[in-house]
């Protein structure tokens, strides 16, 4: 892979057939640009995106209520349904299942027809999954947890009946989105573009990992054995579902926006296979110095460090793909969100590799610094990435351009609020760690954390406002004449022009 600038792949190069040797290959280092792309289910994409965003507000509100109870323990504390343990469970499950699944699926529905030049299996199936997921899984899960049917498995608080729904939903998504690939296979034996690798990984890995993580600890494997499998699942949810689908967005939006291929195919390969084989081995680092056999703990920690290094390769590859496009990172808002998401990604991964180390773990495990880490991953990396993805496809699925001023203010409010929250929780976490080491009474670490917890509530509220601004940007979108909507050709250039003049 040479480091020199490459020829842009234009419409003229694009075709449905395999390109002869010696030519740049669209579909390998960048998404295809088909003359007559497959239809995109625009309404379905809009529904998933908007459902995800509104449910994000609910899930974030659960988080805010939970945060508020830290400095006002009796706040909403007299009723069973709103007690701390249940709002926290609803926050965590809501962010993953209500917000991110909807957001990722919206982007997948947008990207797959273009990546494969085949339509999705069935739009009717899509609507069936949409209602089944949002009413059955999300609302159903929240209600059941609130009335006291919580399953106390971290990252798996929805009860077993909802777990069954989730598996059905995940499998339906997999069938829906794998079918275009299978149909494409019959006609062309080509290798797939990087974004597709990540999508297929997430679709196939997650349902099985979910079954292992959700059903074995509560019913089959007690105690320490269950902890091993819980640890696996906690990290698979972040690493083999959230991360690949967020990287799908990054690998798609960057070449689509800049019109240039990914920097290095070799680095794409190393980054992908590194993630595939290191990430699922991270799980036990949540239970260091526990009764789990020590060699399993040290293996998980080694894998965590290897994972951090792999992420460096991925992010360098994606950032290098932007070389010469710095202006566009500033002017094209979707790219700005993606850029910021990748920045949080590299930070959170190096932080995770560092935190996993035994001497660090010994001191900081159980503190709020770990909470800072998880928020950097789910809010910084995943949420910013989905925001970027939604902004990127919105003109093409609605014919309307999101309000640039509101989107920009959403970017800054969210970035600053989240940074404040992360810094605050880091300080609080380190405070707690040193208080616990000092041998002072436990309650001292609680009273000392109070200012930091109040700050967390304030920064969380600001982040919530950032989310509202993002929804407002979509709500105030203005029609764009020169953009042809999905089901027809998608004109990225026109969309970009409109943004830059907007």
């Amino acid at each position: 892979m040479s480091l020199t600038a490459r020829r842009n792949v234009t419409d003229e190069d694009a075709s449905d057939e395999l390109v002869p040797r010696g030519q740049p290959v669209p579909g390998t280092d960048m998404p295809h640009v088909f003359k007559e792309p497959a239809p995109i289910p625009a309404k379905l994409i809009r529904a998933h995106a908007l459902a995800g965003l509104w449910l994000l507000l609910v899930a974030a509100l659960f988080g805010l209520i939970t945060a508020w109870k830290f400095h006002d323990p009796e706040f909403m504390g007299q009723q069973e349904w709103s007690t701390w343990g249940r709002t926290r469970a609803n926050h965590v499950q809501g962010i993953l299942l209500a917000w991110l699944v909807n957001g990722f699926m919206a982007f997948a529905y947008f990207a797959v027809p273009t990546l494969t030049n085949r339509p999705i299996l069935s739009e009717r199936l899509g609507w069936a999954i949409f209602w089944f997921w949002n009413v059955g899984v999300v609302i159903g899960g929240w209600v059941l947890v609130s009335i006291g049917l919580m399953q106390s498995v971290e990252w798996g608080e929805f009860p077993a009946v909802i777990d069954v729904f989730i598996i059905i939903g995940l499998l339906a998504f997999a069938v829906q989105l794998c079918t275009p690939y299978i149909r494409q296979r019959r006609e062309a034996k080509s290798s797939l573009y990087v974004a597709s690798w990540y999508l297929l990984l997430a679709l196939t890995f997650t349902p099985v990992a979910f079954i292992i993580g959700q059903f074995l600890p509560p019913f089959v494997t007690p105690g320490a054995t269950g902890a091993v499998l819980s640890g696996l699942w906690i990290h698979d949810a972040v690493g083999m579902f959230t991360t690949p689908l967020a990287l799908l967005i990054a690998y798609y939006v960057i070449p689509a926006a800049t019109g240039r291929p990914i920097f290095s195919h070799f680095m794409s390969l190393i980054g992908f296979w590194g993630l595939v084989y290191f990430y699922p081995l991270n799980g036990i680092h949540h239970y260091t110095f526990s009764p789990i056999p020590m060699h399993a703990q040290t293996s998980a920690i080694a894998a965590s460090v290897a994972m951090g290094l792999t992420v460096v390769i991925v992010v360098v590859n994606l950032y290098a793909s932007l070389r010469g496009s710095a202006r566009m990172v500033v002017t094209y808002l979707p790219l700005r969100f993606v850029w910021m998401a990748l920045f949080f990604y590299i930070l959170v991964s190096l932080q995770g590799a560092y935190q996993a180390g035994m001497p660090v773990q010994e001191v900081i495990h159980f503190t709020d610094w770990v909470i800072a880490h998880s928020h950097m991953a789910m809010a910084g990396f995943a949420t910013f990435m989905v925001f970027g993805g939604i902004l990127h496809f919105w003109p093409m699925v609605s014919g309307r351009m999101p309000d640039p001023a509101l989107a920009r203010s959403s970017f800054w409010v969210s970035t600053l609020a989240l940074s404040a929250m992360i810094i605050d929780l880091t300080i609080v976490g380190l405070q707690q760690a040193s208080m616990w080491l000092s041998g002072n009474p436990w309650i001292d670490s609680v009273t000392a954390s109070m200012p930091g917890w109040i700050t967390r509530s304030v920064s969380g509220t600001a982040l919530f406002i950032g989310f509202i601004l993002f929804i407002a940007a979509l709500h105030k979108a203005k029609p764009v004449e020169e953009i042809e909507v999905a089901d027809k050709a998608v004109d990225v250039a026109a969309a970009k022009k409109a943004v830059q003049h907007g």
Binding site: S2, A5, P73, S152, Y181, K189, G223, W273, V446
Partner: protein, 199 residues
């Protein structure tokens, strides 16, 4: 940089790993198998052997009431703020006592080890406080620990017509469970010569 045509179609051996079925097989299925066997099944089997070998004769499984209390403990999400294992670190052992051993947890479906400590670890709680202390603490944590931020659990109690507060069956079961935490270790002592969990 000069515009050069240096890019060629990828035709290396690795392209076979970039196809639909290869991704499914080697990424989706392969890594799942590797991770599940390597860091799921193998440690699990090892733990199973250890538990069998180390369980002391005095070991008492949870009673029906304690089991009920364990369910309340899960329902209220106690594990979010209270860990239930003492790590093999000096600070943990000084503060809470004997480090956790795998056999202690053989009845917990699912385990409640937790990943965050806002309140203290509870795995060595048996006999530290009286039942009455626990009941008062659950009804209003600030009545026993003024600076506590623990939620109160009034629905585990009934209020009589004369204002007298009595625990419900759920409240009593929860206290019974809390009083059983670490009891087995207290009676039998450590079973692994302190080797487990040491590097």
């Amino acid at each position: 940089m000069a515009e050069e045509e240096t890019d060629v179609a990828h035709t290396g051996w690795y392209t076979r790993f970039e196809r639909f079925e290869s991704i499914l097989l080697f990424a989706g299925v392969g890594s799942l198998l590797v991770s599940f066997i390597g860091l799921g099944l193998l440690p699990a089997l090892e733990i199973g052997d250890q538990v069998e070998k180390n369980t002391p004769e005095t070991y008492q499984a949870m009673t029906a009431e304690e089991q009920h209390g364990f369910e309340i403990y899960q329902r209220e999400g106690c594990a979010y703020c209270h860990s239930q294992f003492v790590r093999t670190t000096d600070a943990d052992e000084v503060r809470w006592g004997q480090a956790a051993e795998a056999w202690e947890y053989q009845d917990q479906y699912p385990q409640q080890w937790g990943t965050r400590r806002i309140g203290p670890d509870l795995s060595r709680l048996a006999g530290v406080y009286s039942d009455d202390w626990h009941l008062a603490h659950l009804y209003n944590p600030r009545s026993t620990v003024p600076d506590s931020i623990m939620p109160s659990y009034p629905w585990l109690f009934d209020e009589g017509p004369d204002g007298e507060v009595t625990p419900t069956r759920e409240g009593e079961a929860l206290v019974a469970y809390l009083q059983s935490l670490g009891e087995n270790m207290r009676v039998a002592g450590p079973q692994t010569d302190g080797e487990q969990g040491k590097l």
